[in-house]
């Protein structure tokens, strides 16, 4: 017992160091990203361009280089970082709420619902705001459907949740196909198809705002609810007996999760596996307490997606869809997690 006490003390000393490391990693990742790309900009020029935003100075770089860094790379890095952070926070909260480390925004139906909402919005108009609004509404709707199918006598088993997610995702995928079927093939159809594939290639400051506002609001709500999410992760009965208004609390959190996920889908398409794998990885570093898990997952998710996008935009001349890379990395990790949990059960981390 003496030993574990010491270990406990060590852990709380280690924690600030962990966050300092994660912040440094994120800042370095972002800076690295600004310095690499298909168009060669020397690092000293990138540094100058960034510094000139703060101090007036005589440029030693070309206007093209400034444009590439300011108009292409900065919004792209911001978008990738925000999307990664948002998905990781949403995934952490979902896993807590459903008491299961193997749940992600995709499994719960939000992504496919948001995909349909977005496709429908493209069909109806060109407004980005309608796009994010419908993506949110349909993402929320899909989540309500998954939730009500999977819930029996007040309990949602993980198997029922996954099955309900498959059913609901299949349904909304079919609806997406319907929108493609009726879309004008000259302009609407390619717009829908490309939007669904998802990419940060068309990053702009307008899109950064589009994703930043919902991700920041949603993440703030979830962080404020970190303690309630802890309690919910014990199970509905216990949470209820502890005096938590279970349904209300859960729905506020789920709404925040849907807001984040649908904003990411609206701005960058469906990017799978980040919300599933990153929270799990973060939990291995911080333990399950959402007070530390949520900020850690946020920082790791942002760095992770920035690096994934670095590969997507620089590996070859063509853009590699981000979703392909996250799936290539995420699916095998998920498989390992499944095996591990099948061997040991949820409870023995």
């Amino acid at each position: 017992m003496q030993q574990t006490l010491v270990a406990g003390v060590r852990e709380s000393r280690w924690r600030p160091a962990l966050f300092i490391v994660l912040v440094i990693v994120l800042v370095l990742s972002a800076l690295l990203s600004l310095a690499i790309g298909r168009f060669a900009v020397p690092v000293s020029h990138v540094a100058g361009i960034l510094a000139s935003a703060l101090l007036p100075m005589e440029p030693w770089w070309t206007p093209v280089e400034a444009r590439v860094v300011e108009l292409i790379r900065i919004p792209r890095v911001l978008m990738a970082g925000l999307a990664g952070a948002g998905l990781a926070v949403a995934g952490s909260a979902l896993q807590g709420i459903f008491r299961n480390p193997l749940v992600g925004p995709q499994i719960i139906g939000v992504s496919s619902g948001a995909a349909f909402g977005g496709a429908l919005a493209i069909l109806l108009s060109e407004s980005r705001y309608l796009l994010i609004g419908l993506a949110f509404a349909c993402g929320m709707l899909a989540m309500v459907i998954v939730y009500s199918i999977s819930r029996q006598q007040g309990r949602a088993s993980i198997l029922m949740l996954v099955l309900a997610g498959i059913v609901t995702s299949a349904f909304f995928s079919a609806l997406v196909s319907v929108t493609k079927f009726v879309a004008d093939p000259d302009d609407k159809l390619p717009a829908i198809v490309f939007w669904l594939m998802g990419s940060f290639a068309s990053a702009s400051y307008e899109k950064v705002w589009l994703i930043a506002v919902p991700v920041i609001i949603g993440s703030a709500v979830i962080y404020l609810m970190r303690f309630q999410i802890n309690v919910l992760s014990l199970g509905d009965e216990e949470a209820h007996a502890l005096g938590v208004k279970v349904e209300r609390t859960r729905w506020i959190a789920l709404t925040a999760i849907a807001l984040i996920s649908s904003a990411v889908v609206a701005a960058a398409g469906v990017i799978g596996w980040v919300g599933l794998v990153i929270p799990h990885f973060a939990r291995m570093l911080t333990g399950p307490d959402h007070k530390v898990l949520i900020p850690a997952a946020m920082l790791i998710g942002a760095s992770y997606l920035i690096h994934v996008d670095n590969v997507a935009r620089t590996a070859i001349a063509a853009e590699i869809p981000v979703g392909i890379i996250t799936a290539l990395i995420g699916a095998p990790i998920f498989g390992l997690l499944l095996r591990r949990t099948a061997n040991k059960g949820w409870t023995s981390e």
Binding site: G8, F227, V231, E237, L242, E349
Partner: protein
């Protein structure tokens, strides 16, 4: 502190119990006894409010602390994290527990002699320790009524003794009204002031422990003859209820 009137419950057409009435004062312990599947947990949940009874009312005269039967959690929380969750009702929707809440949690742990476990992982504790942590969590919520589902049934002898004597101490020192289920009459006889026997769906009997835990009533309840025995060890008399296995 606990006041139950004409409580009845059924799943669809299947009646589980009916006309259950009793009241329990502060500082007293009551045990609900019955064989497996008779509806002890259902009755407990109806009193707690987790299940909605079809007749009657159950009112609690103070803050409730509830300790469920299953003491496993999905995530590897530390003991202090678990115990501070007892403060959920005191902490708002968008707030986290403050220093005062952690103080309550630490006090509860020290009251149960668990101070050294605060930073340990809950799932690495023994069954008895887990049960005590759950009780500590209830105490952290500043409860006046403590309701427990089979708190000692799955434990070894030493841990049974630890949990039962702790409950007795809490009733006496803190004046908690404690309601628990058990299928071991021995446990009821050891600490309970009152007992509720779920003889059948239509017959629930309430009374003092001495009156309820007679050999006749217990034989009727469990369908097996029992014999009360007394053992003198030093200057202390231990009483036991011995099942006469076939």
């Amino acid at each position: 502190m606990i006041d139950v009137q004409d409580l009845g419950f059924r799943y669809g057409e299947n009646r589980v119990f009916r006309d259950v009435s009793f009241s329990l004062a502060a500082g007293k312990i009551a045990a609900i006894l019955g064989p497996n599947g008779r509806g002890k947990t259902t009755l407990l949940k109806s009193v707690v409010g987790l299940l909605k009874p079809d007749t009657g009312t159950a009112s609690l005269g103070g803050r409730l602390g509830y300790v469920a039967q299953r003491a496993e959690i999905a995530f590897a929380y530390k003991v202090i994290d678990i115990v501070v969750m007892g403060r959920a009702a005191h902490v708002g929707m968008f707030r986290a527990p403050g220093p005062k809440d952690y103080q309550h949690a630490r006090n509860a742990l020290s009251l149960l002699g668990l101070s050294g476990f605060a930073e340990q992982h809950f799932n690495r504790l023994s069954g008895g320790e887990r049960q005590l942590v759950m009780i500590a969590r209830a105490l952290a919520s500043e409860c006046q009524v403590l309701i427990l589902d089979e708190p000692a049934s799955a434990l070894d002898f030493r841990n049974q003794d630890l949990v039962l004597s702790t409950l007795r101490r809490l009733a006496e020192d803190l004046g908690l009204a404690i309601l628990m289920t058990t299928h071991f009459p021995q446990h009821a006889a050891h600490i309970a002031d009152y007992a509720l026997l779920l003889q059948s769906a239509d017959d629930a009997q309430w009374g003092s422990s001495e009156e309820m835990l007679s050999e006749e009533k217990l034989e009727l309840l469990f369908g097996l003859p029992v014999e009360k025995v007394q053992v003198q060890r030093g200057d202390k008399t231990h009483s036991g209820i011995l099942p006469l296995f076939s």
